[in-house]
């Protein structure tokens, strides 16, 4: 059997999903279960190995195409919204951190969210594929984005 899943521990490929299914597909809820499982494993990893979770995320409905939650940095917390469009998982999720969008150019127009975080250059190798899910996206895009924006804000003196 051919194994298409990529493995590289440092890049957290253990958070991949197994079912390729979009929100309009019949087996979408299986993908949702895998997404929730991967997020819970990621949370567990952070809790036990890194002293706590830097994000919190929950779906707003059973179909789980829209999620809300927050991201945290040292002593700071910002609301986060995440949307899975019909093209997911061919296309990655769209994420917005409303309070940080005005402080950075690292953003893109989005038909659903208005603005979303720019994930086009987070890593110069395009790493996303249909097995990647929300947990991996949080790890490999959102965490970098938040770090980079807050780093710039501190450098400008906008944050203490």
């Amino acid at each position: 059997m051919v194994d298409f899943l990529k493995r590289e521990d440092d890049l957290f490929y253990f958070l991949q999903c197994a079912t390729i299914s979009s929100p309009r597909d019949a087996d979408w809820l299986q993908r949702v279960r895998e997404e929730k499982y991967a997020i819970s494993r990621f949370s567990e990893y952070l809790r036990f190995l890194e002293g706590g979770e830097w994000f919190e995320l929950r779906p707003t409905s059973d179909r789980a195409t829209r999620w809300v939650g927050s991201v945290r940095d040292v002593g700071l917390e910002f609301e986060m919204e995440l949307v899975l469009k019909d093209a997911y998982p061919t296309m990655p999720p769209a994420v917005r951190v409303p309070k940080l969008m005005d402080y950075t150019d690292r953003k893109l127009d989005d038909g659903v969210l208005g603005l979303r975080i720019c994930d086009m250059h987070m890593e110069q190798n395009y790493w996303w594929d249909e097995y990647c899910g929300i947990a991996l996206y949080l790890k490999r895009e959102v965490s970098y984005w938040v770090q980079s924006v807050l780093h710039d804000m501190r450098k400008e003196g906008w944050l203490k």
Partner: protein, 81 residues
């Protein structure tokens, strides 16, 4: 003197280069980051470091940091987004 080996992974660089440093436990993490950045010809002041899961590293000694992980992900915000 007790030493720890830290592995700095420059995760936002295309080739994801890794700098491995053996440093004293009492050394400040920021000093180790400066040494790792120099090996990559980068300015540590513009870099940001996290644990592998994306948790920000607030500071402290090498020993305190390595209690959680000896793998450090280094982000260059000038590349990101």
């Amino acid at each position: 003197m007790a030493m720890t080996t830290l592995r700095f992974i420059f995760i936002s660089d295309p080739e994801k280069p890794v700098v491995t440093l053996k440093v004293p436990n009492e050394m400040l993490f920021q000093e180790a980051l400066v040494m790792a950045a120099k090996k990559q010809d980068k300015d540590a002041a513009v870099l940001s470091a996290t644990y592998p899961g994306g948790t920000p590293i607030a500071g402290g000694t090498v020993e305190e940091i390595s209690d959680k992980s000896t793998n450090i992900h280094v982000i260059d915000p000038s590349i990101v987004g």
